[in-house]
Symmetry: C2
Subunit: 323 residues, 2 copies
């Protein structure tokens, strides 16, 4: 990746953010940035965009008050701009959340780059397009990154940050640092992967769910309950790798893979399994050891158990068998 | 399925449970049943089984005290039997949790059925084998069911109940009713599906995770963080279908499928996508409407937001960006 033009301000000095597109995701970003004390200028071509956006922010605000507002945070610091150029004119950062359409994103990002002050980082909320494919029509594509959030962006911490082939390395670092300061939990990826990380994982699950419904094997209700009453309780605080490591008992991921590895070849799911060769096995085992970071099996079990109890209690399910 | 011989006692009258196999899952069942006030007799051929099992129960007990113990519940109501036949002799219900090996399960279930009083229901914890494939060697296979738990069985509510081709319909109903009384959240399946429901879903995700690690696309730590900081927070209380319905905004699942449906064909995950035809689309939309059960989009958004806040607070992540 090429080196960069310096951004016009440090991530610490961002004051005004332009949010382009004010649907579910764009509007969620608006609510998040407002709650974190930024001034926000939004633009959306829809006729009823302002009304819908202010309704979304108002609906989210009580939740945001619970999470703790930044000093000076207020829904009143939202301005709707009549034009795209007006929205980005004085922005220190731009978050684009247009509909998921590659051609639309390409031309919109080109238009944004032309209207935004030199060096200001422009992030796309795309849920899957690689930036390399979106930055093709942009003059000065170095400051374009993906900043992929999860719904609702004002509550779910994760944002995946990755650049395209023509993105400056510094722009990726700037965006990661900015999101971190803005209260997000950042995963910075060093290579492009369609769907990034979390969406690939949840898409795999989602496709299997669609197959089951298509074949009459399970209802939507059963699918949802199988997650919320089962693995979903653990995944709120312990990821699938470390969770499965615990399924190996005191033998951890190594025992888990050696014991359940052959099941990978079972006709579970329509997804072809990768070859569980020595290299992959060791990568999983080492990765889990690193994730455990010195915690013993007993430590992790105690932590998981307390986590499940806390989540059950928090979601009103302690003492009853169903929510 | 054939009709049945009546069980020797109603699900309400179960007093003593035999747990066969005392590893991570079998031991977890022991802890669960003890906490619910049952007497438990365990059997496991391993030399150090008793020591390990009592350690597991002791480690789980503080967590179980927090969830609320049944009257008279005590770790002292656990007995280790020297023989399999001795373990099941006076059992009102049998939970088999042997290693995941089809031949082993076949012969063990045959042995169990021969030693257990007529009509007593025998459930297998298998994480994926259909009962039809396991009950081949059993005399009187009508009382054999799958009762598939999640780790740890003493905290994760879900149990998936399903019979094989030779299982009596009444045995399935008996087991579902019993698990419900024993504090589990039951999904009763009316057809066999290798991996049942939740395991198929989490296996799809797991295989995609293994592909990513195998190809150097993401680290174990990134994969885990992408779930716990992202979709996992929602899945603790709202399943993937209803969660995705909210991604469609006020247009719900219908808008979501119409908008993101084409993305199914994107090269996300290695799992081939099903054809999103009218029938599947309508099944998803109708299923979500049923799951919403009269709650409006605004109701569901408020519920989700409160849920995420509660889960973040419960897992110590409110007010900080990382755990």
């Amino acid at each position: 990746m090429p080196e960069t033009t310096p951004a016009p301000c440090a991530p610490e000095d961002v004051r005004r953010i332009a949010c382009i597109g004010a649907g579910v995701i764009g509007g969620g970003w608006v609510a998040h940035f407002l709650a974190r004390g930024y001034g926000v200028t939004a633009w959306d071509p829809a006729a009823d965009a302002e009304e819908k956006l202010r309704r979304l922010v108002a609906a989210a605000w009580p939740a945001l008050e619970q999470t703790g507002l930044a000093e000076g945070a207020s829904p009143d610091r939202l301005t709707l701009a009549p034009t795209l150029a007006g929205a980005v004119a004085d922005a220190d950062f731009v978050q684009e959340s247009a509909p998921e359409n590659l051609e639309l994103k390409r031309s919109l990002l080109a238009e944004l780059a032309a209207a935004t002050r030199p060096g200001v980082v422009i992030a796309s909320s795309t849920s899957g397009y690689p930036m390399t494919d979106m930055q093709t029509a942009v003059e000065g594509p170095g400051r374009l990154v993906v900043g992929h959030p999860f719904n609702p962006p004002y509550l779910i911490p994760l944002v995946e940050v990755v650049g395209g082939e023509r993105t400056d390395r510094d722009a990726v670092a700037w965006a990661s640092r900015f999101y971190d300061l803005a209260g997000k939990s950042v995963i910075t990826m060093d290579r492009e992967l369609p769907g990034f990380i979390a969406n690939r994982l949840q898409e795999a699950l989602w496709r299997e769910a669609l197959h089951m419904v298509a074949n009459g094997e399970a209802s939507v209700g059963d699918i949802d309950a199988s997650i919320t009453e089962g693995p979903g309780l653990r995944w709120a605080f312990m990821g699938p790798c470390l969770t499965f490591a615990l399924a190996g008992g005191e033998g951890g991921m190594a025992h888990m893979l050696d014991h359940f590895g052959p099941s990978l070849k079972s006709p579970w799911t329509r997804l072809a399994a990768p070859e569980l060769d020595r290299e992959l096995r060791d990568a999983m085992v080492d990765g889990c050891a690193e994730a455990a970071d010195g915690r013993t099996y007993a430590d992790l079990v105690a932590e998981r158990d307390q986590g499940v109890i806390d989540v059950l209690r928090a979601t009103g399910r302690l003492g009853s068998t169903r929510r």
